[in-house]
């Protein structure tokens, strides 16, 4: 690096994130968040999910607009393919979470990113969800993420970015650790 290098800018406001962490030290309750979505069945395996509000920083919060997602299954499942499958949304969430984390950690470590892309794959045995083999679980038997990253950093520094992103990733934690789930009918 030279003394005239432009400041690292990955488009992440690290100061705001660190400011939030500092504020939480004085008022831990502002860290308590709730994420929400709604889902409505349309037809067959097709449903639509909306995301608009959440709770955090001690107040009701809103996205700038309502985000809407179609969920369905492909033609191979005798469905209409109006949207990706729920398990694919899990991969979408994991890839999005890890990549956001990479950008934030890179900013914090003054590493300029030029390109970041990844391919995610999840292995699944259909015997599980079809109830064809009680020894097979419904969910993934494994998930792989392969990153290609071009950045102003050594290979070990790039590996450390990816490792730190996993360490601080909410979706990675949700997938790798058990979570209590309660489903009610009213």
């Amino acid at each position: 690096m030279t003394a005239t290098a432009t400041p690292v800018d990955n488009g992440v406001n690290v100061e705001a994130l660190l400011g939030a962490r500092a504020a939480m030290a004085d008022s831990p309750e502002i860290a308590q968040f709730q994420w929400r979505s709604t889902v409505t069945w349309l037809n067959g395996t097709h449903s639509r999910s909306d995301v608009e509000s959440f709770y955090g920083f001690d107040d009701e919060q809103h996205h700038t607009t309502t985000f809407s997602y179609d969920i369905d299954h492909p033609l191979q499942f005798a469905a209409q393919d109006n949207g990706i499958t729920p398990v694919e949304y899990v991969l979408v969430a994991l890839g999005g979470c890890l990549t956001a984390g990479i950008a934030a950690v890179a900013q914090q470590r003054s590493i300029q990113l030029r390109s970041v892309s990844a391919t995610l794959t999840a292995e699944m045995d259909l015997h599980g969800i079809l109830g064809a083999d009680p020894d097979v679980r419904n969910g993934f038997s494994g998930v792989s993420v392969d990153y290609q990253i071009d950045a102003d950093a050594t290979p070990d520094e790039i590996k450390a970015l990816v490792a730190q992103s996993q360490k601080r990733s909410a979706v990675y934690d949700v997938i790798t650790n058990p979570t209590s789930v309660t489903v009610n009918v009213s």
Binding site: P28, D156, K159, A160, A163, Q164, Q166, K167, Y172, D173, I175, T176, N177, P178
Partner: protein, 429 residues
């Protein structure tokens, strides 16, 4: 009621180092000890435990290891003897078998109540240890099925005293890897649940890894100079063991010996242990962290012109096993769970408003917000080496200087110190 200028709680290496420094400044003081000198080294250590630091690193204010094996590692009774010898040679004013039951602000300083009567002290130094109590995960502990014994490293003594059968060791820091290795050698089937860990080779380029960390100044890094102090203070202990053979016990060594490695113990549901799928990343993090440490050491060695006879080495990446994600604790396969999940200070008797929401003492390098109340011996208190015996000297020296300065403000009637004192009293009411 007896009165003293400084009252030190705990006659371990930290309390005695502080006592020595106070004596050098002729500050009158007393050291209260719940048991005998070096009590936890006599009562809370397993039979085979040795210090993680080599003998030459056993340095205290005005004292150092003098035996004939500078590169060896003291066993627990030897540590207790050394600390006792230090107390004797320092003529430390220790009152043994005196258990403190409360410390609270009172006019002119603190009122300290013990099972042997009360003291008034202008200043108090908390030196009762960072590892006084084991810290098992309570939520998991209460889900362990009946029939499976559970114990902490402070209760563990030797393999022969455990019930027959397999053992699940939860935690892969110093205590966890040492106990797992010993249990495996005794013929047990051992599973280790691996959370975040700090991988460390015993020897690097022919010398003890701690020699490199000491010589290069890494252990002297100050608390006010690290980028993330919260992280530094919560770092797990180094995966080290002190043995005559100076062996490295890391995850690769455990795995090749036949110990089963699984992810962090995340939950126990209906008697089934669930392990996190994060093991590959935790191994990568530890490998990368070790590589950064060795890079720093090599850079220093090149600058300092040291170790030219032995070139830099790099260790094989941690081989991540195909680990099971669940383990049924009801089958009898696991008869014992050992919570090697860390330790915490035991300060339930501290009745001074200096605790954070997690019950930990808030402090700035051992100086609390309560005037005249100090803390010693916690991880990264003032330096990276603060939790090592070798770290006590510098920390005790610094805190003694601060304490002496505080006494000076009291005698000079500095209004700021007086108002701070009044504030402490106000909080206690």
């Amino acid at each position: 009621m007896p009165t003293t200028t400084a009252l030190i709680v705990g006659a371990g290496h930290c309390g005695l180092a502080m006592s020595r420094c106070l004596s050098e400044r002729s500050i009158d003081h007393v050291v209260l000890e719940r048991g005998e000198v070096a009590n936890s080294w006599r009562t809370q250590r397993w039979d085979s435990l040795r210090l993680l630091t080599p003998n030459w690193m056993t340095r205290l204010p005005g004292y150092a290891y003098r035996g004939g094996d500078p590169d060896g590692y003291l066993c627990a009774p030897e540590v207790a003897r050394l600390i006792q010898d230090y107390a004797t040679e320092s003529a430390a004013p220790v009152l043994t078998n005196t258990t403190v039951s409360s410390v609270r602000p009172s006019a002119g300083g603190y009122l300290v109540q013990t099972d042997q009567g009360s003291w008034r002290a202008r200043t108090v130094v908390l030196a009762s240890g960072a590892a006084t109590a084991a810290n098992p995960p309570r939520q998991l502990e209460q889900c362990v099925p009946t029939g499976v014994a559970t114990l902490s490293p402070t209760d563990y003594r030797c393999p022969g005293l455990l019930p027959e059968g397999g053992v699940l060791v939860v935690g892969a820091s110093a205590s966890g890897i040492q106990i797992a290795e010993e249990l495996h050698r005794s013929g047990r089937a051992v599973t280790v649940a691996v959370g975040e860990h700090v991988r460390m080779p015993r020897l690097y380029r022919g010398r003890d890894i701690l020699w490199w960390m000491d010589a290069s100044g890494i252990l002297d890094e100050r608390y006010d100079q690290v980028p993330d102090l919260l992280r530094a203070r919560n770092l797990p202990s180094m995966q080290l063991v002190g043995t005559p053979e100076r062996v490295t016990v890391d995850l690769n060594a455990l795995r090749s010996a036949g110990v089963r490695l699984v992810g962090r113990l995340a939950a126990i549901r209906d008697g089934i242990a669930q392990f996190s799928g994060s093991l590959p990343n935790l191994c990568t993090l530890a490998d990368l962290k070790l590589a950064r440490l060795l890079d720093a050491i090599d850079e220093w060695a090149a600058r300092a012109g040291v170790g030219g006879d032995r070139p830099p080495e790099r260790f094989a990446p941690t081989g991540v096993p195909h680990a099971p994600l669940t383990l049924d604790l009801r089958t009898g396969e696991i008869s014992t769970i050992i919570w090697a999940t860390g330790f915490r200070p035991e300060l339930s008797w501290l009745d001074v408003p200096v605790l954070n929401r997690k019950g930990q003492v808030r402090h700035d390098g051992g100086v609390t917000s309560a005037p005249g109340l100090y803390l010693l011996g916690l991880p990264f208190l003032r330096r990276r080496k603060s939790s090592l015996i070798d770290g006590a000297a510098a920390d005790a020296h610094d805190l003694t200087a601060h304490l002496a300065g505080y006494l000076g403000t009291l005698s000079s009637g500095n209004p700021r110190a007086v108002s701070a004192r009044a504030l402490a009293g106000q909080h206690a009411s």
